[in-house]
Subunit: 195 residues, 2 copies
DNA sequence: TGTACATCAGTGAACGCGCGTTCACTGATGTAC
DNA sequence: TGTACATCAGTGAACGCGCGTTCACTGATGTAC
């Protein structure tokens, strides 16, 4: 990376470059945590993916826990953003199709962090759960715009929809391929034995 | 434990006692894995909980992975068993009420292994996922008995129901208490602002 | 604009720690006669 | 039924390894004058 310009020697980077490094660390963490789990991905793994060595990590974050918080926030914000743009009904329909697709199943690193990390976040600090809760709240608020009825009824329906999406992907990923395709088809509402 | 009878010295146990030890190890693992996660609970933690030291573990299991498989199978079988007994409709109704209760939320160690460990099982071996898939298949078959329509429609409806239950608990546990109670109430179908 | 110097982003070696796993050992169990 | 002995369940110390974190160091950046 940039240090190679100086022959691999340690060198002070500009503030602008530090900001880019910071963003790269979060982007790498966000993906790698979703792929390998919060405990399955080490600080060194993340830093290597971001093109650096692990030693510099603590110039950017106080601890691994702090990185987890930032990575969760970033991943959830990205997912909520997709839903908030454009026509509510269309946005939710597209979101749902993508959510229940084979592609989402096979690529947790760029998928929704809730099925990928939910079980582990339950055991994280209160701070991490608050961040996760806020992110899920944004997603549900966006889904609610596509539901019908009173504000409260729309929100409740959105929680039920989102719960089903999350559960279906958790189940599909934790099972063999046959069950995976069965639960996704059921969640999609495909006609049984479609022919 | 039993070794204290002999002053804490290592001693050969009878076959019957070994079988009891084996069952105790699985029972401890089944609970502790659900509480702390598959990576968050060590072999030593499990053996200590079962009243032994970690060294004897490999007389019972080939590896930690093998223990994970047995513990997942045991926990799922216990949950499926509850659903298979008695009147299908009544059994599912009771299961659902318990599943979406505050008690289930607060006690993952004796709760359903799918929300507790689903995200992590997705990253386990194919064998572990096959075991998990079979267990979930049993649960869904039992739920399907309480649904209406053709066999295929009942099974699809059961997958959707189970997905919503799993997702609601994953979301509730990974968030702050306020969102937790909101998603559980929505999944239960409580009337909004009930008064 | 030019100079002198404090700052600090990133490197790479090192730290203590807990992990999964192995092993020599103990002595009651279970078996062969 | 009694005796001699191989088996093996469980102990506790030890193994190599990867983890999160710390630290001395480097030299361009950014600032004070």
């Amino acid at each position: 990376m940039s240090s190679e310009i100086f022959g691999g020697r340690p060198v002070r980077m500009s503030q602008e470059e530090k900001d880019r490094s910071h963003a790269r660390i979060i982007a790498s963490a966000s993906r790698i945590f979703r792929e390998r789990g919060l405990e399955g991905a080490s600080v060194a793994d993340v830093m290597k993916d971001a093109g650096m060595t692990h030693g510099g990590f603590y110039k950017h974050f106080e601890s691994k826990d702090a990185l987890v918080g930032s990575a969760l926030e970033s991943a959830l914000a990205c997912f909520a953003g997709q839903l908030e743009a454009g026509d509510p009904s269309r946005a939710y329909s597209a979101y749902r199709d993508l959510y229940l697709s084979d592609g989402h199943l096979a690529n947790p690193g760029i998928g929704c962090p809730v099925p990928a990390l939910g079980s582990e976040v339950a055991r994280q600090t209160e701070d991490a759960r608050a961040v996760f809760g806020r992110g899920m709240g944004r997603i549900v608020a966006a889904i609610a715009r596509a539901m019908r009825g009173s504000a409260a009824a729309r929100r409740a329906a959105a929680w039920r929809e989102f719960s089903m999406l999350v559960g279906a992907v958790v189940i599909a990923r934790a099972a063999d391929p046959q069950i995976a395709s069965e639960v996704l088809a059921a969640a999609r509402g495909d006609k049984p034995h479609g022919h």
